[in-house]
Subunit: 424 residues, 2 copies
């Protein structure tokens, strides 16, 4: 027995690609955690005919649960509730208590807009009455923003959620707690899921190891393995029923035996979290050329980054390398701005200028111009310097376009940082 | 008459959200340009049964063209071609010339991998033979990577493309040129599409203006208007048949009359391109606290940014503000690090340190901690300073979480830069 689900994402701006859908992937993750199999995600514009066609399609495919996102606003093109009610064969009824709650929510919001162009309250309240119309017999999910959601029981059960991720996410957690949704997914299989991450291994090397694992692990077929190469990192996600845990243990042993150096995470931790952990008690500064601040920006992503991030210099011009980081112009003249000696001088300058104990420097050719036969586009030099004199300097040739090279450079720098801080 | 299309995105890693789909939105844009109406995007895993169900659904909805992406690799879970052939009622046949071309392509790629874990050539060639099996009577789209695509004529016509965007995009352009696809979309309507962008107007203000426009423009119904609020910018996309151009002219006049100050682009240009244009002949430096390099990184996005970007300082700590930018510690003690006087001192320091003629400073509270009643999370101070003494300083309260505040801060800075450089 198992439970299957489908997701219907509505919204012309999503269908036409002007907004990237974040709800489908997020809900997919939540379903996976629950052990509900996601069969289909479908996206359509704000057209009732198309929304209804997708609902019918998913019902025809025998899913137990449909989740919709979007189309719950007060305007005329927000039609999801009406469409779902019709699809479920239910009338739409006014929920007076809900109407009052929505009015309470929008009153303070309205106060923010004054002057010409501001909507008047009576008009808005009338428009919002529409949001209090729900399918008969459905369960209301209280609004997090201004739009309520509903759970409509049936076969399939339909959960109707608003489009903004900040509203959808907490409302999904409420929806999951309702008896209607619990009943719809009663047949789910509980899975374990484990993630291993590697860096610096070609995908074909992993493919070869998995073929080997298939031969030596008896219960290999009970492991559902997905591999994904992204920005130079390999992610290996394995899903299995709890009684296949031994097979997963064997797989992990094979991976460790063959790729000990490449594995940087066995519990799904990401490189950014690992580096943030290793930086506890340290004081780091960056010196960036081609990435122009992206590495410093990435180091500042976690809340509390001010505990370890002193700052950085974006030394995009050669003058900035000399004036702000003290790189000797003669060194640049001799070796070129993209060279290991210059990367090391940049790192040394960052250590000194910020009184830091950890520094990373990046200098490279992101393209599209600036490449030479010796140093083609994608050539990037890195140097990590620690206060105790530890120095880790590397040159790589990264694939892809300007944006790829810059983005991937920050990833390489994070891995070099991890290596220097783990062994230092 | 019109032409409708559907897109089928396959791949377990996309369905489960581990890779964000870039092909659906990209193809949606291309279809829009062609005047082909996109009805549905559907996403499923690498399961032939689910892929076939989606093909049947789209055919049942009467689309003229289906485009699939993904599932063309050499491994056993790449099943799109087989599934499409079955759906179209065609046998699969070996294209010997294609097989030879694929072998030529993979030979040099194989040479890159040597040593243990490297796959052997005969095995790979056998696996790649699978990629030379195509539906009888279909037209081959030569591989850009290693996977060929096909166009299968019929009702609907199916275009089968590989998953990697770098391969899919050029192959789509080839597919569009085939007589089979041209015939399938013969009924398309040619549209004009125009984009206006605004900054600093609440969405409700625009909604009110559009209601007004609806009353005063006779042919308003012939304009298909989509609005989208993103990071503080409003995007208004209008699509219309060529003979409704006068109505669009009237709409533009209404927007100009009411929102002259908010409009920054009438031809779809993005703020980054406008700022890059205004920076020609100038020399810019940044001083960033909460954004920690993201603005410098954004200014360096366009190729050729080295013509105007001197560099920047990420002054995350107060010491860095003093040591690298010359901000008087007494100023920080008096007003706090997040204050207009400190932002102005940072900008002045950046001008001086980089011998620049343009500088932008950002200092703010990105959260989640660090907020006070006076300066809650989201409070961000900006200052733009020009060599001629022009100074533009602003404080904003930005909504959202840490990542939103930091991202949106760079957008506000870009707009302040534009304003300072347009009037300066």
């Amino acid at each position: 027995m198992s439970a299957r689900a489908g997701i219907v994402v509505t919204g012309t701006e999503v269908l036409t690609g002007r907004i990237a859908d974040r709800n489908g992937p997020w809900l997919a993750d939540r379903l996976l955690e629950l052990g509900v199999e996601l069969a289909h995600i479908t996206i359509c514009g704000d057209r009732p005919r198309d929304i209804e066609a997708q609902l019918r399609f998913l019902a025809g495919e025998g899913v137990d649960l449909i989740i919709t996102s979007g189309g719950l606003g007060p305007t005329a093109d927000d039609l999801t509730v009406d469409t779902v009610a019709r699809f479920c064969g239910r009338d739409v009824v006014l929920d007076a208590a809900l109407e009052a709650r929505i009015a309470e929510i929008i009153k303070p919001l309205m106060a923010r807009f004054t002057g010409p162009g501001a909507p008047d309250f009576a008009t808005v309240r009338a428009a919002n009455r529409k949001q209090a119309l729900i399918p008969a017999g459905s369960t209301v999910l209280d609004p997090v923003g201004t739009a309520p959601g509903v759970v409509v029981p049936g076969a399939p059960t339909v959960v109707v959620l608003p489009g903004p991720p900040r509203e959808l996410q907490p409302m999904w957690h409420k929806a999951i707690g309702t008896p209607e949704v619990q009943q719809a997914i009663a047949g789910r299989t509980r899975y374990e899921q484990q993630t291993v991450r590697m860096f610096g291994l070609p995908e074909s090397g992993l493919a070869d190891t998995l073929r080997h694992a298939q031969q030596v692990i008896a219960d290999f077929v009970r492991l559902e393995i997905t591999t994904c190469l992204r920005g130079g990192e390999l992610e290996i996600v394995t899903r299995y029923e709890p009684d296949a845990a031994a097979a997963y243990g064997q797989l992990l042993a094979v991976l460790r035996e063959r790729h000990a150096r490449a594995i940087f995470s066995e519990d799904g931790s990401r490189i950014d979290d690992l580096v943030a952990g290793l930086l506890a008690g340290r004081w780091i500064a960056t010196a960036e050329s081609c990435t122009a601040g992206l590495l410093a920006g990435r180091l500042a992503d976690p809340p509390g980054a001010s505990d370890y991030l002193a700052g950085g210099v974006v030394s995009y011009s050669n003058d900035a390398k000399a004036d702000l980081l003290g790189v000797d112009p003669a060194l640049i003249a001799e070796h070129g701005a993209v060279s290991e000696p210059v990367a090391e001088a940049m790192a040394a300058g960052a250590l000194r200028r910020f009184a830091a104990d950890t520094a990373v420097a990046i200098t490279g050719i992101a393209g599209p111009g600036g490449g030479t036969p010796d140093k083609p586009v994608g050539t990037v030099c890195f140097s990590v310097a620690l206060g105790d004199g530890t120095l880790l300097t590397r040159t790589t040739r990264l694939p892809g376009d300007r944006a790829d090279v810059r983005e991937r450079s920050t990833t390489v720098a994070m891995h070099l940082l991890r290596r220097a801080l783990s062994t230092g």
